[in-house]
């Protein structure tokens, strides 16, 4: 039976969130949380592997106490047990620190894992880095953006779409795969599953001390990247009314836009004016 770890993340339910301008991080406290959509696809992929081959699925997340919600949701879908990594000193961890912490937790709670699945990217920060970095931490092969996973007890075959090419990769287990949202449409959790997620399945909570990690290793000083600036990209549409006699309006139009029109058609129109 395969031993699968799925790393999931709680993300804000709305996309437009205020951020803390000083730290450059999102104000996650202001939004309701949900399981990151790609992570949900990763859970579904694990469940399908479990249904085909038999597997024990551990779902793991790092976050505030409220992140328990996404673990319960994954348990309701059919995962077997949950691990919540929760400690104030982990707040603000970058992707490097996060993958370091996840690796420590996996070594501690699931040392005999065969396969690690992650969502390909998160809807809040979209770096897509944690999965591959985690594979580096654990020194094992990895494939990102998988749209299909075939697995037997020793080997893994992954199909993925990169740069408009569809490629198939094979690797030995243990390995890490990040799952895209092409296939593996997540199932709905049944209400009896939700009930059992609270009455049957267990969640263990790890803090930094239990992981043997000190604050120096970690977030804040431990994070190697610093967000220098966060801004909202603004796109604006507006109508411009040009009034007056037709000849003068046409002339004004060309005065205003000949540069843009020229750029769009690839040649200057000045001479034809």
């Amino acid at each position: 039976m395969l031993n699968i770890v799925v790393c999931i993340k709680q993300v804000p339910m709305v996309t437009e969130l205020p951020w803390d301008e000083k730290s450059g991080t999102l104000r996650r406290d202001l939004a309701a949380g949900m399981m990151n959509p790609a992570c949900k696809h990763a859970v579904e992929a694990a469940l399908q592997i479990k249904e085909n081959l038999g597997a024990s699925i551990t779902v793991m997340t790092m976050g505030p106490p409220a992140a328990e919600e996404v673990l319960r949701e994954a348990l309701a879908m059919g995962a077997d047990r949950g691990v919540l990594i929760c400690d104030r000193i982990l707040a603000g961890a970058d992707t490097y620190a996060t993958s370091f912490i996840l690796a420590s937790a996996i070594r501690k709670k699931c040392p005999s894992f065969d396969l690690i699945l992650c969502g390909a990217y998160t809807s809040d920060s979209e770096t897509a880095q944690v999965g591959p970095q985690l594979a580096e931490e654990l020194n094992m092969p990895a494939a990102a953006y998988a749209e299909n996973i075939e697995v037997n007890s020793k080997m893994l075959r992954v199909r993925r779409l990169v740069d408009h090419f569809r490629e198939t990769l094979e690797m030995e287990l243990p390995a890490l795969v990040t799952v895209s949202m092409e296939r593996y449409q997540p199932r709905y959790a049944s209400f009896s599953g939700l009930d059992k997620a609270f009455t049957r399945a267990g969640i263990s909570v790890l803090n930094a001390e239990k992981l043997g990690i000190s604050s120096d290793d970690l977030a804040g000083q431990g994070s190697r990247t610093r967000v220098r600036k966060v801004f909202i990209r603004k796109a604006q549409k507006g109508n411009v009314m040009i009034t007056g006699a037709a000849a003068r309006a046409a002339s004004e139009f060309l005065d205003r836009y000949e540069g843009k029109i020229g750029a769009a058609i690839g040649k200057s129109i000045e001479a034809k004016k």
Partner: protein, 394 residues
């Protein structure tokens, strides 16, 4: 001092626990994904959405409070109310199917059925393979539930049922219906009893689907019984227990209708808020007009009050305390809030709100019946007043 109030002191959980939150998210996600795209069409075409219902079966929507041993999800009453609320926020007709099945068709089995009846019917009801209905209303027995004219006459080890039931929710699709019929008791007394009647029993006939103002996707119909033979083993509870079973079941059903009304109100308010932000008049969104803001403030306040009243009734029920009076209060208040809020939502939409182009038109039609079925608002006031007056006399 004032009149003693039947509202007992109890700790209200103002913050829902994680489980309730996840149940809400789950039902909301399902409703928005599977029901929102079809809600307007199934309303207009009067279609019972079989595909969506099939998906709901596998997710325990038809065995919300049924114990696990019979294949249910064993949810508490607040969870059940949340599920009905979230379905109705998007599609009240499907919310109606679920709340009638769970609240008044399955619930009496949990409360009054013997071991054999539970064994026979609960697993199928909980899986949704069998859809239930509750049939009390007749042409001359509405608010006056004691005036049932349908008869069940003993014949050997069977009862022979004759009569007509009207306005049966789920009537067009139900596989099992709980039928209230007059039976003769010792000393020539006539009293109603409840029978578990399968649609495949000979003599069970369905009428045409009703063409109703709202909740049109629910197959409401009449049921006709012509010498319909029902085994004695299908008598629910004891002979003559009809009134007792009916009243207890309606107490529970009222929680469901309150939840449904609350969901309709919530959906209408959300639509109105969205529209008020988008709709420009006098060169600014109408949400910037104080009149519209007042409407929205009133809607939000009444919905919050309605929700707390409903969860209060659920909490009493889950605690095993009497909850009939509070269920009536919740049903009375939630349904009147639904009517007011959907009216305001149409008003905020202006002419567009009166058109089928916008969902609030459907919410407006759906809301009205919540003031009528499972006991009219007038009957709820009677129930509440009786509870208050009987206490004050003690």
């Amino acid at each position: 001092m004032g009149i003693p109030c039947p509202v007992r002191e109890m700790n209200l959980q103002f913050n829902p626990c994680i489980k309730h939150k996840l149940i809400r998210n789950s039902a909301r996600h399902f409703a928005e994904t599977e029901l929102a795209p079809i809600a307007a069409e199934i309303d207009q075409q009067r279609i019972f959405p079989r595909d969506a219902i099939d998906k709901m079966k596998a997710l325990n929507y038809f065995g919300l409070q049924v114990p696990e041993e019979y294949g249910g999800a064993a949810l508490d009453s607040i969870s059940t109310a949340i599920v009905v609320e979230e379905l109705s926020r998007v599609c009240a007709a499907v919310g109606l199917c679920v709340t009638v099945h769970n609240g008044v068709a399955v619930y009496p089995f949990l409360q009054f059925a013997d071991a054999g009846q539970k064994e026979n019917y609960l697993p199928q009801l909980a899986s949704g393979d069998v859809i239930g209905a509750f049939s009390l209303t007749e042409a001359n027995a509405g608010s006056d539930a004691g005036s049932v004219e349908m008869t069940a006459v003993k014949s050997g080890s069977d009862y022979i049922l004759n009569g007509t039931k009207i306005f049966v929710t789920n009537g067009g699709v139900c596989d099992v219906a709980l039928i209230f019929a007059l039976t003769s008791l010792p000393e020539n007394k006539l009293q109603s009893s409840v029978f578990i009647v399968e649609s495949k029993f000979p003599g069970f006939l369905r009428g045409e689907l009703e063409d109703l103002c709202g909740m049109r996707a629910n197959p409401v119909s009449s049921l006709f019984f012509e010498d319909c033979r029902v085994p004695e083993a299908n008598l629910l509870g004891k002979l003559g227990d009809g009134m007792k079973i009916g009243l207890a079941t309606l107490d529970n059903g009222r929680i469901g209708v309150a939840a449904q009304a609350l969901g309709i109100a919530q959906g209408a308010m959300e639509a109105a808020v969205k529209y008020a932000r988008e709709r420009q008049q006098f060169k600014r969104p109408i949400a910037s007009q104080q009149t519209i803001q007042n409407y929205i403030a009133d809607m939000a306040t009444e919905i919050m009050a309605a929700r707390l009243l409903l969860y209060r009734a659920c909490e009493l029920k889950d605690a095993g305390a009497p909850f009939g009076c509070e269920a009536s209060m919740a049903k009375l208040y939630c349904s009147s809030v639904a009517s007011r809020v959907t009216g305001l939502a149409v008003q905020i939409h202006g002419g567009y709100g009166y058109s089928k182009e916008y969902d609030v038109e459907r919410y407006f039609r759906d809301a009205k019946v919540t003031e009528i079925y499972e006991g009219t608002s007038e009957i709820q006031r009677m129930v509440i007043a009786r509870a208050i007056l009987s206490q004050s006399m003690m």
